[in-house]
Assembly symmetry: C2
Homo-oligomer: 191 residues x 2
């Protein structure tokens, strides 16, 4: 999506260690007009999939899920990250290794809100190694819900997580796919 | 706001220790139609205040801030919670005691996005003792931004934080104000 690529090139910052900071518009300060357009684009891509629920993960996925949800007219469910394993039996849980934070989280959703028969669109701001996405898919599987696809704002395609998941048959639509980044700030997109 | 009070009475659950669970519509599973109406109500209340930025705190404030922001046509900035004090010098920080989690967080926003002269509307899902709100106001003060008010979904008025802050001159608009809750599920609203 050209608008998002332009924002990445204009406002994103590349840091050593393959870090792309887009906190001026996507995950700290939120450009709500841009996010609404990204939400509409997810609807263009997945609007005919019979989505009944949007699933995301705190914190930075919530904003994008909330700007997409009005197009679909479905609830948003956000999975919560915990550092403990001692959670209520009323939740589905899975383990997610965080690339950004260098630790493992337990990620949980209430069994009351992720239901058998739900047709789930997963939305997140970033896809890199795919760990968060694999965790969310696992929560859907536990609930007997169907993952109809994943809508991602920025995929760091060079980290391979997206392609490995596509090989399993998952439909992933990333609005900007980065094939390479250099420490001098050069960003090459895949089209 | 009658609509929100109805949702609290219909779907909220009271637990011992003055806990009100509204995770079926406000802070885990998100009723996006309801949240959009709450966002519109904040605009009705604060639309003439020259708001330039909406400030909230992760995670559960983000959704409400994002449904309010399109009415105001301003960016959302969400403060991040950290468990460490070793943060970049490029952020304003403050300490917040969490009633829910029984710990103290360092809360931070980037100096790049909270600016001198900003007219800030703070939005959050809950107001109880007021600790998060006091922290967000402190971040605005450090930045030289003006807090024009706070828009809250549910105020647990019996915990006193809102009234103490109103006494300092802060304008707080809570869409539902709870005067008392009992373990048998009875909820009395203030009007």
């Amino acid at each position: 999506m050209e608008l998002l690529e332009e924002h990445i090139l204009s406002y994103g910052k590349v840091y050593p260690g393959n870090i792309l900071k887009v906190d001026s518009f996507l995950n700290h300060c939120l450009d709500i007009n841009l996010l609404t357009k990204l939400g509409g684009e997810f609807y263009r891509l997945f609007g005919d999939c019979g989505v009944t629920k949007i699933l995301t993960i705190e914190s930075s996925g919530i904003a994008l899920a909330c700007t997409a949800a009005p197009f679909f007219d479905v609830p948003v469910l956000f999975a919560k990250k915990h550092r403990t394993l001692n959670l209520s039996p009323e939740v589905y849980t899975t383990e997610v290794d965080s690339f950004t934070h260098g630790c493992t989280y337990t990620v949980a959703v209430s069994k009351n809100y992720l239901l058998e028969g739900d047709r789930v669109l997963i939305i997140d701001d970033f896809l890199a190694k795919g760990n968060a996405l694999i965790g969310l898919i696992d929560l859907c599987r536990q609930a007997g819900a169907e993952t109809v696809g994943a809508g991602i704002a920025i995929e760091k395609a060079f980290q391979g997580g997206g392609d490995r998941l596509r090989e399993t048959g998952l439909r992933i639509e990333s609005l900007a796919m980065i094939d390479s980044m250099s420490d001098d700030g050069t960003i090459i997109f895949r089209h």
